[in-house]
């Protein structure tokens, strides 16, 4: 069997293009998607968003309040706010920020008078998620302002008069307005201030439990896409049987004392070995680029890679054993990889999927690999923690390979 495996390794080495493509694909996808998503800030759980603020309502109470309060407190951790003038548009054109919020002239007056007013958000088209967060944030602010103006219309009118008056308002009058506002807000508090958005931070807890932290969007996507690339490696390895059938090599090998079972077995072992090699190369590149910046249980990573490659080879061998031509095998293999990758977390994070898809994901082999690697890399877990994933994949691999082997032996018993 080693002779067969060595021959296929040598063939890949001599003709490395497809291997290079399989390695570049996850790196390219990680770079592309990671850049759009904001990449990594080297340790913070979520990257900061740079937002330009153009205030055209210079003397307005509300606009100045928004300008002053934005980016304070927890927001400071996520937002980098830069006040700009007319140069804001030019900066956006140069892609210097994720978004620009423009407060129009007479913004405060119009809000107090309950007139229609528009906050303009200019998005950076080169980025995907960050500008969307700014738009959503601005939408929440607009909702609060709208509801506040409707609720506190009378009090806002009094405040506006007070602020425009040159004399200092009487304490009693201020107190009465404040009491009125408090009463109204207390009455609607549970409706007006529900926990619309809750940003949970698990960073400190994780650190207490020994988390390796250092989340990187690039690293996360690298894990997702590497798992998909390993499926392509498995397809390439198992599909080689069809290629050898077409170019006469299979027939020639079967005229020797070797049986088809040995040939299929060698292709499977080669697929596993080759898959783990690709995994290790991508892992090393991930470390070198700083996308994976913390120690990982290497034994667990390799065992997970072996079990996943075995499952992928088995699954794809089973498909190949059910189709009749190389073309059908190519189409079916591609569909299965894409389907499993889409559902199983190789194209988007599982937790971003609707609940039914999250449930379905557990029936894909990608899920167990992506889940295992993210736990190894970002939760500091080890071999014992992901043993369940490894065992599941090994069982899937053993069952599918056994069935596929039986079908392929029957198929290729007579190859002429």
């Amino acid at each position: 069997m080693w002779v067969l495996i060595r021959k296929d390794l040598l063939r890949r080495w001599r003709s490395p293009l497809s291997t290079i493509v399989m390695i570049i694909f996850p790196l390219f996808m990680s770079l592309a998607i990671g850049s759009i998503s904001g990449g990594s800030d080297g340790g913070s759980e979520f990257p900061r968003i740079k937002v330009l603020l153009q205030n055209n309502d210079k003397d307005g109470f509300l606009s100045n309040a928004i300008m002053g309060s934005a980016g304070q407190g927890e927001g400071q951790e996520y937002l980098e706010l830069v006040e700009v003038g007319d140069e804001g548009t030019e900066l956006m054109n140069e892609g210097k920020a994720s978004a620009m919020i423009v407060l129009p002239e007479n913004f405060t007056t119009k809000v107090f008078n309950r007139e229609p007013v528009e906050i303009l958000v200019v998005r950076n088209p080169a980025e995907g998620i960050k500008p969307e967060i700014v738009v959503q944030g601005a939408d929440v602010v607009a909702t609060y302002l709208d509801q506040g103006a409707r609720l506190l219309g009378e009090e806002l009118g009094i405040i506006q008069v007070m602020m425009e008056s040159e004399s200092i308002p009487a304490s009693a009058k201020v107190g009465a307005v404040a009491a009125g506002i408090t009463t109204k807000i207390n009455g609607v508090e549970k409706y007006l201030f529900p926990p619309l958005v809750e940003i949970g931070s698990v960073k400190e807890d994780d650190e207490e439990e020994g988390s390796s932290g250092g989340f990187s969007v690039f690293g996360y996507i690298l894990i997702m896409t590497t798992v998909m690339a390993m499926m392509f490696v498995a397809t390439r390895s198992m599909g080689d049987i069809f290629e050898e059938q077409n170019n006469g090599m299979l027939k020639r090998q079967l005229s020797t004392p070797m049986g088809i079972g040995m040939i299929v077995g060698a292709k499977t072992v080669f697929g596993v070995v080759f898959g783990v090699i690709v995994l290790m190369i991508l892992g090393i590149i991930g470390f070198v680029l700083g996308w994976i910046s913390q120690p990982v249980d290497l034994l667990a990573a390799v065992l997970l890679g072996i079990s996943f490659s075995l499952a992928a080879c088995g699954f794809l061998a089973l498909i190949l054993s059910l189709v009749k031509t190389e073309k059908q095998a190519g189409i079916m293999g591609w569909l299965v990889i894409m389907g499993m990758s889409a559902i199983g977390g190789s194209m988007m994070p599982i937790h971003n999927m609707p609940a039914p898809l999250q449930a379905a994901a557990r029936y894909t082999i990608n899920f167990w690999a992506v889940d295992g690697y993210t736990r190894l890399v970002y939760s500091g877990e080890g071999l014992s923690d992901i043993m369940g994933n490894i065992v599941r994949l090994l069982i899937i691999g053993a069952v599918t390979i056994t069935v596929a082997q039986a079908l392929l032996v029957r198929r290729f018993r007579e190859v002429s």
Binding site: V3, L4, R6, K7, L10, R11, R14, S15, N247, G248, M249, K251, R252, Q253, L254, S255, T256, P257, M258, R413, E414, V415, S416
Partner: protein, 312 residues
């Protein structure tokens, strides 16, 4: 001499199609046995059954007395198969290809290296041994294809049309290698549809068509089946029935193949001769546009046996 290969009543059916129809023959040690027949005659199917790739519908194959059906692994160790298509790994060099096939048969170390060197020299590829074979010409690939079947020094070599689609020089080289193999004591089953190759190379021949062996023997024995004499080919504006009737009236003239406007006739060596035969036909009112006289060959025999030309 003992029989290296014995084929007994071998038959293969694919549904309603009978690809091989009960063929029997044997090959003695050190012999080149030719399988001569057109494309689709059943040559490759026969080879596939002999080397265990196809299971016969009926019949048996023995290599050195061992049954391929009962002990395929043991038989396959003794066989060297050179398929019709060029089956090599084009990413690998000639040396790597040869080493791989040697490894499959359990060879290794210095024994394999020296065998690979020997074969590279034999097929004239020693200068290009380290180059990826995708850069090779068609003839070079064919030569390597042949060498791959010889690396484990098999007793019986099955060559399935090894010279298809190559230039005369490369063909000559391959035929030289085959002769050298046999001179070294090996036995060869050689399928071809090239008449000249069969005549030049083979000790004995079987003519096969539609899955049946129509005739077998040495080249000399086969030619005698046409009869001793000269072959007369005539073309002209005549009907087959008219000419057939006329031929029966001429002493020493026998029909081989007669169609409208074209006929092949044998002028017996023991008869009055070609001039007499032609005069006999002319005297019956027949005229011809073209007349050819030659010695009969295997192509003519094939035409007589099958009613069609070998290259059709």
């Amino acid at each position: 001499m003992s029989a290296v290969l014995e084929v007994k009543s071998l038959r293969k059916e694919f549904g309603d199609l009978t690809a091989v129809d009960g063929i029997s023959f044997d090959i003695q040690e050190g012999e080149i046995f030719g399988f001569l027949g057109p494309n689709g005659a059943g040559k490759t199917t026969s080879i596939s059954m002999i080397c265990g790739l196809l299971k016969p519908t009926a019949g048996e194959v023995f290599v050195e007395g061992v049954s391929i059906l009962k002990n395929p692994r043991e038989v396959k160790k003794r066989l060297g198969v050179v398929p019709q298509e060029v089956a090599i790994y084009e990413e690998l060099s000639a040396r790597e290809n040869l080493s791989f096939w040697g490894g499959i048969f359990g060879m290794g170390g210095s024994k394999l290296r020296s065998r690979v060197d020997e074969l590279l020299e034999q097929v004239g590829l020693e200068d290009r041994a380290k180059e990826p074979t995708k850069n090779f010409s068609g003839g070079m690939k064919r030569r390597l294809n042949l060498a791959l079947g010889l690396v484990h020094d098999p007793k019986l070599i099955l060559l399935d049309e090894p010279t298809v689609g190559i230039d005369p020089q490369a063909r000559h080289n391959i035929l030289d290698v085959v002769k050298a193999i046999v001179a070294g004591g090996r036995t060869v089953l050689y399928t071809t549809h090239y008449l000249e190759e069969a005549e030049d190379l083979c000790d004995r021949l079987a003519i096969i068509d539609h899955g049946k062996i129509l005739s077998q023997g040495t080249v000399g024995e086969l030619k005698t089946q046409l009869g001793e004499g000269s072959l007369l080919t005539v073309q002209g504006d005549f009907q087959a029935a008219t000419l057939s009737k006329a031929v029966t009236g001429v002493d020493g003239l026998m029909p081989i193949e007669i169609d409208d406007k074209r006929a092949m006739l044998l002028v017996s060596r023991d008869g009055p001769g070609v001039s007499h035969s032609l005069e006999g036909l002319f005297s019956q009112g027949l005229t011809f546009d073209d007349i050819t006289i030659k010695e009969p060959n295997l192509e003519d025999l094939f035409l007589k046996l099958t009613g069609r030309e070998l290259r059709n």
